[in-house]
Every structure is written in C-alpha cells, then in structure tokens.
Amino acid sequence: MTVAPNEINSVFEEIGEPPRISAQDIDKMLEPVTAASAQQLDEAV
C-alpha cells in the first residue's frame, strides 16, 4: 500500500491483528554454529 505520512490510520486498518511467532517456530529458524573446521588464524596468515 502507498500512503502519505498523514494517512497512517489506513496502515493500522490494513494490519488488523498481527501474527505472533512462537518459541517453537523460532527454534526452527536457528541452529548451533558449525564448530568443525575452526581455523587458527596464526596458522593462516
């Protein structure tokens, strides 16, 4: 939608009831950083 700064009420109306993201959903979006293959920089440079 395209709105001017003074038309913000139309944004509220369009949003309605916003969603909420559950803790379980968040867990699916993350994983532990790969620990393997760490590179020691004092060997690399």
């Binding site: 395209t2 700064p5 913000i8 916003p18 803790a23 968040i26 993350l30 440079v45």
Partner: protein, 399 residues
C-alpha cells in the same frame, strides 16, 4: 563459542549488560544517547570456514553461538580481493577491494546485491536468539530500500513475518530472485518519513523494531567485511589497513568497520595500525561531512533537506539524522581513527562508476561509486600515500 557483554559507550557510564539477557538496544541509565559495544570473551578470533555466511566469524557475533538455519539459498558472505587495475590508475600499490554485491564469476554471491545482507543475517539471528523462550512479535523495518530488501530475503527464507516501510523512491531496490509477500508500505516522502511511520506503527501495534545503528547485531554483521578483508588467508591483507573508504548514509557501516578495527587491534596478530575511516557522501546532501568539518552537528532544515535529497543520485545515502553525536557514533569513529569526510558530486560519481567498470570489470551502484571517487580525491589531495594499505568497500553492485 564466545560469550559476550554489551558495554555502554557513554564516557561517564560504561555499564555492562550480559549478552544472554535478551534483546537490548540501549543503556538503562539516564544520560546522553550512547551506542552499546559488544565485548566478546574471546579476544582472539577463530574463523570457522565451514560455517555459512557471516557465521564464520561467530566468535565475534552477538548470537550466543547460534546461526540462521540452513536454507535453499546459501547465506551471503564477505569477499575481498587485491586490486591491480584501479590501483594502477590511482597510483596505489596495496589497494584491496571488499566487494559486497553479486559477481558470481569472481565469487561474491549476494543475491540482494548489497552488504546489508551481513547486517541482516546477524541482526535477525541476534533478535531470534533473544526471543527463543518467549516467542516474538513481527519486526517493523524502515529502509531506504537495500536493508528492506535483505530483511525481506532472509525473513522469507526463515518464514519470519516482517512489515516493511520504504520511501517510494526505494521501491526499485526491492528485487529478489523469488516471490515474497511482506506487508509493504510505500511511504510518500523520504527515508526519514519511512522511519517515523515504522516507529509509530510499531509503538501502536506492538511490533518489534530492530533499532538500526543501535542494534549491536546489525553493526557486528557489517563488521565482518573488515574482519574478512584483514584475516582471510587468500583474499585478505593479513594486517590492518592504513585507510578504509566507504560511501555513507547513516554511516553505520563505517562505525561497524571501526569497531572491527578495534577488535583486531586487541587481537594483536594483525599489527597496530588504527585504520583511518574515510566517509563519503553525495553532494548536495552531506550532513555528515558538514558536521565533521564545522565541528558541530549540522541538522539540515527539512525543506532544504528534501530539496537537496531530490538532487542526489545515491538516494540510499540520504539519512537526515545520521548517528553523529551519539557516544560511539560517527564523530567518535572519525575522531578516534583520525578519519576524514569527502563530498562527491553527481558528475564525479558517474565518472567513478565508469572508471571502476573499466579497471575492475563490473558495474557498481551509485553509493559505491561515491566511495571510489572519495579515494580518487584522497590520492589527489595527498591524504593517502602510494604505499599505504587501503581497503575500498564496494557496498553494492549494480546488477
């Protein structure tokens, strides 16, 4: 994996907050505005080449050992190479180019074409890790276009809902290789109008705000450009640079570069050179250069700002309220690094883009061309020496 704290950068405060205690954008104490600085337990960096995207540098990211889940697109990662073409034209012997864009023939793989991918990867991971126990509300993102495009990309890959507020002039930046369905508000006005509307909507509806430059995750993500350029065994210089050049709007990328330099100095394996941070803006809209040169924060009156912004080619460099005075912000980065600011006209910007294409073989965006011309000016002015180690950040490719 390294634990971290966040330290208030106000000179009279210095309060530290645990990085495991949730999403935090500011200090609790009553004083002038100050950025929080992430301080990591591991003062020496261990790179993890097999980790995706910027999470190679997880030791120095505020994500508590977590990364974004693997998806159907590889996470974008920083890329750097040593220049010979542009370096020769400018008479420089040790010019490195951090190329944050899409150039698959050479290596860079950012499908959104900008370094904003790095800040979004980290910012999103920081936000999500802090909400794991409670769940989260959607994020309201205000953007001149590039940040919004990157948030849209990673939020779509993760299945996280976002609400984008973008000035009409930034809509052309919202380009992805697949269809997405964010809640998109095109604001009639400039970037600052989009920020104001996102703030108002978030406050009323209860959305989360990512905090822009206040977000340690955003800055830590962008700092990986410098970390890669210094530490990568093939791409990097192996030592801290004498100079860093970048076109700036809010300047958060330049602040991030300086924060990376400070961490690398503490690491101790990359020399003791405090890299000078050079920030360039597209005239006639140059509030950061105006403030630095006048010695006081310059607030351009709204109508004058709108007129100036209308005459700027690099629209993504037009933040009317850059974080100049805030402790740990632009003024502090320029002061501590002995940096400089530069102004680049529209005419010189186009010359710089053509020069870069001729010497390096790829089109770059207008914001990147601003950085290229600043480097040319610095060479002409004798602000850099031919033997200096220089990092030029191409923060976006044209295609």
């Amino acid at each position: 994996m390294s634990e971290f704290k966040m330290r208030c950068q106000h000179a009279a405060c210095g309060t530290e907050y645990s990085g495991a205690a949730g999403f935090r954008l500011s200090c609790d104490h009553d004083h002038e505005p100050a950025l929080l600085l992430p301080v990591y337990e591991n003062t020496q960096l261990t790179v993890r080449p097999s980790a995706p995207g910027i999470f190679k540098f997880a030791d120095w990211l505020p994500t508590n050992g977590m990364q974004l889940a693997q998806s159907r697109y590889p996470l974008g990662e920083p890329f750097c190479y040593r220049s010979y073409g542009l370096a020769r034209r400018l008479g420089l012997k040790r010019l490195y180019i951090a190329f944050s864009g899409y150039w698959p023939e050479r290596g860079p793989n950012l499908v959104t074409r900008t370094f904003k991918e790095f800040e979004v990867q980290c910012s999103l991971a920081y936000f999500l890790t802090s909400q794991r126990k409670t769940g989260a509300s959607p994020l309201a993102i205000a953007s001149a276009g590039n940040t919004g495009n990157s948030f849209n990309f990673y939020a779509a890959l993760m299945g996280f809902p976002i609400y984008l507020f973008v000035p009409e002039t930034g809509l052309d930046n919202l380009v992805l290789p697949f269809a997405t369905s964010p809640f998109l508000v095109a604001v009639k006005g400039d970037y600052s109008d989009a920020i104001a509307m996102a703030d108002a909507v978030a406050k009323r509806v209860g959305f989360s705000r990512d905090g822009g430059v206040l977000n340690v995750g955003r800055r830590a993500g962008m700092a990986t450009v410098m970390l890669n350029a210094v530490t990568h065994p093939e791409q990097g210089s192996g030592r801290l640079f004498d100079h860093y050049f970048q076109g700036v709007g809010s300047g958060s990328g330049a602040i991030a570069a300086w924060e990376a330099v400070q961490m690398l100095l503490r690491d101790g394996r990359f020399g003791s050179t405090p890299t000078k941070i050079h920030m360039a803006q597209n005239s006639p809209f140059t509030p950061i250069a105006d403030s630095w040169e006048s010695g006081e924060t310059v607030i351009i009156p709204e109508n004058d700002a709108r007129d100036a912004i209308a005459n700027v080619t690099a629209k993504v460099l037009t933040n009317r309220k850059p974080p100049y005075e805030v402790a740990g912000g632009l003024r502090d980065a320029l002061t501590a690094s002995k940096g400089q600011t530069w102004r680049v006209s529209n005419q010189r910007l186009f010359h710089a883009a053509r020069l870069f294409n001729a010497e390096e073989g790829i089109d770059i965006g207008s914001a990147s061309a601003v950085g290229v011309d600043a480097l040319r000016q610095a060479v002409e002015a004798g602000a850099v020496n031919p033997d200096d180690a220089i990092l030029l950040h191409i923060k976006r490719s044209a295609a």
